[in-house]
Amino acid sequence: MTVTAAIELRDVAKEFTGTRALRGVDLTIRPGEMVAVVGASGSGKSTLLHIAGTLERPSTGVVLIAGQDVARLPDAALSRLRAHHLGFVFQQFFLMPHLDIVANVAHALVYRGIPRPARRSAAVTALHRVGLGHRLGHRPDQLSGGECQRAAIARALVGGPTVILADEPTGNLDSTSGRAVLDLLLRLNAEETTVVIATHDPDIAAAASRRIELHDGSVVHDTGWSA
């Protein structure tokens, strides 16, 4: 039985002016995996995540998301793919400072053409899921870093994505908050969501079911898929 890979990279390379961020990466991530991408700063973790999340196109190579070659998709289809299948979590949270967290989370659904009341109620539900039910009317500057990151996770999960890509999600957090964020991601993974995390955090690396180590843009170690 062949399972369609959630994300598949074939011989992907990415070159920025003067530097090669990724070279010849072959990678298949199956649905439901919890993958930690580790490596030193500048080893290409973020670039790998951006390419896997269609935020960036590779210089060469093929990227398949749920079996679709993203290079062949026009902008609208690619955007639809991001809106429906992918959720992102970033180290700096990237919440909109002028909106309360309900609006921030609801914003993730605006591009799917969902009406405002439905967006807001879904956002409230998502915020309850991440344990921020008591903070609904707060703006990001009124929350702690850990709470902001949980709001950002709520934003990533509110649309029910199949894959969540997290770039250093605990990088700006103290260990307690980091642990809470990791627990959330593990819970999401337990609910069948594929989670890919680029991280320095040994706790996350240890908790992941699969570890991929990058060095200078190449995969140097992959614990591989285990059932």
């Binding site: 935020l55 960036e56 992102f88 990237f94």
Partner: protein, 396 residues
Amino acid sequence: MRPWDVLLEATAGLRYRRLRAALSALGIAVGAAAVVGVVAIPASAQAALLDQLGRGGNLLTVATGQTFNGTPVPLPRTAPSMLRRIDGVHAVAPVAVINGASVRRTSAIPAHDTNGLALMAADPSLVGTLNLTMTRGRFTDAATGRYPAVVLGAAAARALGISALTPQTQVHIAPAGGRGGRYAVVLGVLAPVPLAPELDTGVLLGTTAATELFGYDGNPSRIYLRADPDRVTAVWSVLAATTNPANPGQVTVGQPSDLLLARTSAHTALTGLAIGLGAVAMLVGGVGVANVMVVSVTERRTEIGIRRALGATRATIAMVFLAEATMLCLLGAVAGALAGIAATVGYTAFSGIPAVLPIAPLATALGAAVLIGLIAGSYPAVHAARLSPAEALRHT
């Protein structure tokens, strides 16, 4: 993304940066205020004037002409009654300037010091024909017209220094040469007559008194007529021949409202210039908005990146920025238009004329603002849409 959500997102951007939005919309606002105010204020003045004319276009005048050698030819004595018989003529009022007569405050003032005032013989028909209004007192009637009693034009009253009237208010009137003058009671003062400015400097004496005191022979120097508004042209064409059948060429026929309309069209030319300046202000405002939007795109790179990561298409990003620029210009224009309207209402209230708010400049200002917004927003919008999401999210 739903269109309504695009608008919401665009206004959210503006709400978050209120001061900057307000400042950048200021240019547009000034332009719109100029366009609206500059059109509405003269339009109000013009409407007031036209209102004052009433159906002023139907006022015609017949005046003394000249022979070929320049001698003035008085109108025939029979002219008023002849003119009254023309089909379509409603009212006829003759006046006659009494040549050489002087009007002075007292007899102690030298006779040659006439102040440019003209003593005229006029009968009560003048009031109805020209819709005269009095600022003080009353007009001469059949009874008072027999006595040395005068009505002063607005400018004449000013020149003579007469403001308040008492039964003792008098002026000294004298025939040519200054001998045999006498005092005349001032019965009333006329409001200015824009259609017949010659009356403003006139001192009007009843025709009977004029005949008895000054030997007025009944030959009018000017006749005012009101014609049926639909038949003005027809009446006009027969006026000269009716007035002086023997020598129609020695009669000057006029339509005073033409002069006033010419004056208002001169205003219109100035208005065009002011609108041009307003348009320039709006264009400069548009450049300001474009500038602010470009800065905004640079500043909001992360926001753009996040939107893209959440599934915004390039087109959506472009639309949000375009809507924001357009809204900025539109809000500026609305604020400016309101300021222009306020200025117009204030000005008209101050000058006591009804405010007229023409729709065309309002619509033009708002339409131009939308257009300027679309143009000003297009480059920043395309720039924002072209950003690669990862590039937008990469911190500097």
